[in-house]
Amino acid sequence: MLEPRLRLFSRVNDWVGEKLFLRRQRLAPEYPVSARTEPGRFPAYSITYNHTRKYPDAPAADAWALEVGGLVRNPLRLTLATLEGLPAVTYTVKHHCVEGWTAIGTWTGVPVSTIVGLAQPTPEARYLRFDSFDRGYYNGWDLASALHPQTILAYAWNDRPLMLNRGAPLRLYSPIKLGYKMTKYLTKMTLTRDRPGGYWEDQGYPWFGGI
């Protein structure tokens, strides 16, 4: 009975998080490589893993591509090779899980803003939806956070190609959001007018998830 009202109030906090706290150019602090969390102590969650104790199977390298569509003038289909050929960002940052733990890792990838720029969104586009092949896991993002300079489509972790448990071949990463906002095992990126939900967000987790 109270739950829907709490969720309604959570929308107020989403607004506060985006409009009052988020500064578009404020960067999350970076750490020296020596501060990295030991790989085995950096948890890796996946819905498929929760169900089957196995991470999602990697698609064949030539079969996978990221689809960029929705409210864009120039829909794209980007292979991993194409993505790796674009100017990359590398940073060592702190990961904040909604559960309360933190871990430090190095991520390399292409800024989402670069891809959005290539796709040329139409003026109605206000949100981004990220889809995956992890049992329908998906997330909705506000455009401001998605276009933040540290929000990237990551293909490497700690200087190595992304491993299966980290979301290979491509995942969303950003040090300005909680972990559950960062879709792993990406398949699609869609610009939308209406606010997309999210796997955990639909079940009650705060939608904005910004830190």
Binding site: L6, S10, N13, E38, R41, G100, W200, P206, G210, I211
Partner: protein, 219 residues
């Protein structure tokens, strides 16, 4: 009979009690998702008797992590507003004079402590509140502000990085935030105990506003 507490003080007092209860219960629910401090998997050199323990269901609010978070973030705003309203009233009404602990209260506080320890026979003279009460009611407001500040430090460690840094970083901010819970619990237990043992009439005064008891003087 003396008029003791303004309506604003009584309303904010009881609202605060209720909101604090909700904040603590939802906070314990959130704590259960990662009942440790520090980075994942690394021992943290700070004492925590509740390391790795989940709290019983009766002490938690929200049912699961998302429920706890939603309660915590919904109650946080009225909790802050209640505190701001209370402070604003004290300032505007001048009531702060009978509550704020100042250097001149040090000696009377010592006398009060001697009385409680049985080192002094008669109760020292006092106004609306004795010096130890002033100390308690001043400290608790400060700690309430710290709880709110450390809460924001955990809520927005990137956007409010300066605040998080003041608490020694995210992991420590979380620790202070959790530690304050037990200060509030201890304060409340002692507060209720002293009200019942020393001056039960003050309980009625916090409900009706009117006081008829041992310490009728009103400064």
């Amino acid at each position: 009979m003396v008029k003791r507490h303004h309506g604003i003080v009584r309303i904010t007092h009881w609202l605060n009690a209720l909101l604090l209860l909700g904040m603590i219960a939802s906070g314990l629910q959130i704590y259960g998702a990662y009942a440790h401090f520090g980075p994942r998997g690394e021992p943290y050199p700070l004492p925590n008797p509740w390391d790795g323990t989940g709290f019983p269901e009766w002490a938690r609010l929200g049912g699961w992590l998302a429920g706890g978070l939603n309660w915590h973030f919904a109650l946080a705003w009225p909790f802050v507003l209640t505190g701001v309203l209370y402070i604003a009233f004290l300032v505007v009404s001048g009531e702060w004079r009978s509550l704020l602990f100042r250097p001149r209260d040090l000696r009377p506080a010592w006398e009060m402590q001697r009385y409680y320890l049985g080192l002094r026979q008669e109760h020292p003279p006092q106004g609306k509140h004795n010096a130890l009460q002033k100390l308690a009611y001043t400290t608790i407001v400060g700690l309430g502000a710290l709880a709110v500040a450390s809460g924001f430090a955990i809520y927005k460690p990137v956007q409010l990085a300066w605040l998080t840094a003041l608490f020694g970083g995210y992991e420590l901010a979380r620790y202070w935030h959790f530690l304050l819970v037990w200060v509030f619990v201890a304060f409340t237990l002692l507060h209720v105990l002293l009200v019942l043992l020393v001056d039960p009439a003050s309980l009625r005064a916090m409900v009706s506003g009117w006081y008829q008891g041992r310490f009728p003087s009103h400064d």
